[in-house]
Every structure is written in C-alpha cells, then in structure tokens.
Symmetry: C2
Subunit: 120 residues, 2 copies
DNA sequence: GTAAACTATGGAGTATACTCCACAGTCAAA
DNA sequence: TTTGACTGTGGAGTATACTCCATAGTTTAC
C-alpha cells in the first residue's frame, strides 16, 4: 500500500510516517512510478505503527520502541539476550502499571471527596 | 530548603528544577542572601516534583501534569469542573493501564516461547 | 488532455524538555 | 581570609519528535 492509505489506516500523518522511515523505525520497498519511485508499505507496517504509537503514549521513546520491536522480530540477537531484554521490558511495564495504580488511587479518593462535597 | 537539597531529594537536576519554576510548574519563595535572593522551596515541592516525574515517565506532558496538579490543589476552578477533569484523567489512566496490560501479555507470550526454545 | 489528488525529496521551522556555560554574588569551614 | 561549594541570571545549545513548505513528477477522474 502507498503512504496515503497507511496514513489513513494508522491515523499518523504522511510526514510522521516518512520521518519514521527515515530513522529506520519502519521499512518500505520501492515501487516504480515512471521515472521515480514510490514507497510500498506492507500490512504489517500498520501493526507496527500502531504499536509504536501506543508505546509513545505510555512514555516510551521512539528509540525504545525501535529496540523493542527489533527484538520482537528476532533476527541476529542471541535468544538469551532477547530474553533479558524482554524481561527488563516486562519489569518496566509492571513498574509503570503500579505507578498508574497509585495515581488512580489518588484521583479516585479526590473524586470521592469532591462528590461528597457537592452532593452532601 | 534551597535548590541543592531539593535536587538531591528528588533526583532532578538544579537546571531542571529552575526550568520547572520558570514555566510555573512549581513555586518558590525568596530568601535574602546579601544583595541577592535565593529561592526557598517548601517540602511539598518534593512531592510535587516526584509526581511530575512519575507522570512524565507514564507519557504525560509537563502541561498535562501542571493542569492535573493545579486541579489537585483546588483553588479557583468550580468543583463540578474539577470532578469532570479528574474523571477524564481516571479514564485516561484506565486506558493506559489496559494498553500496558496488552503489551505485557504480548511480551510474556514471547518470553515463554523463547524460554521453551532455549530450554526444550 | 488536463485538473485534482496523489507521490517524493530536501530542507527549514516548531514544540517540548531540558542542558550547559559564563559570570557573579554568598556562605561555611580551615 | 581565602578557598571551595553553593546560589542566581541570562542566554545559547541539544535531543526528540515532528510539521511545513517548495518543487516536481505521477495517477486518476472527468
């Protein structure tokens, strides 16, 4: 698929997608178009972009997501190392979840207090 | 307390703390020091900075944290609005938690597969 | 066949969040 | 009393993550 379609399917701008390709976060193959080349994206790229976006909203940087997704698709890294990296990532996520729970508890308490004050 | 102490207690650099003060994320009172003024920070500022940092790692921007913490310390905003803002924040956090869980599930599955491959 | 809508490239510009530096005054200990 | 660690201000610089623009070739619908 071309960049316009990918953009619509992921909700990311064409510029963002081109930027991600430039920094090697996603890949594209070339497709002839007259004297020039258009970029052809696979449907897996949709999933990849959605995961990147999700990770970003959870406070991961693009570099962290790149690393994680590269482990994901395996490749050259030894399995023992992959395991370590994924274990570390799981720890990070557990930590983040706990922090979110702490904040949620704070917020729910605050909300209850406010509700009591408004409707006594 | 002065900035050095606050820096040590929060793990944030002095520059970062000064930057946060500049953009109104935290406040300080003035304390005379000869012809000049030193900044005096209250112990609540520690808590505030820790929450800001926690929020940041969870993907909230400084502006979002400012808004949230401003609601938190109440003030001029009507309670009905405070309630709405906090409810929205709780929703956001629930969403983030769900996304983290999704990613964690992916990662745990991947980890199990890898472990099976390494120790068959 | 031509206008509208798409594509690529290169480079400049923006927002966020710092980080570093130079310079200068302050304070506590030796 | 002086040295070293602290404090402040102003401003420049950096990293990350885009966003916009000009230019120019391509495709599609009419």
């Amino acid at each position: 698929m071309l960049i316009g379609e990918l953009s619509k399917k992921t909700g990311l701008s064409k510029d963002t997608i081109r930027f991600y390709e430039k920094i090697g976060l996603i890949v594209a193959s070339d497709r002839c178009a007259g004297t020039r080349l258009y970029k052809e994206y696979s449907s897996e790229t949709i999933e990849r972009l959605l995961m990147i976006n999700q990770g970003k909203r959870l406070g991961f940087t693009l570099n962290e997501m790149k690393q994680l997704l590269d482990e994901w698709s395996g490749g050259t890294i030894p399995k023992q190392e992959q395991i370590k990296i994924i274990e570390r990532k799981i720890e990070e996520i557990t930590e983040k979840t706990q922090q979110l729970n702490t904040i949620e508890t704070y917020l729910v308490n605050k909300l209850n207090k406010l509700n009591e004050e408004v409707i006594p």
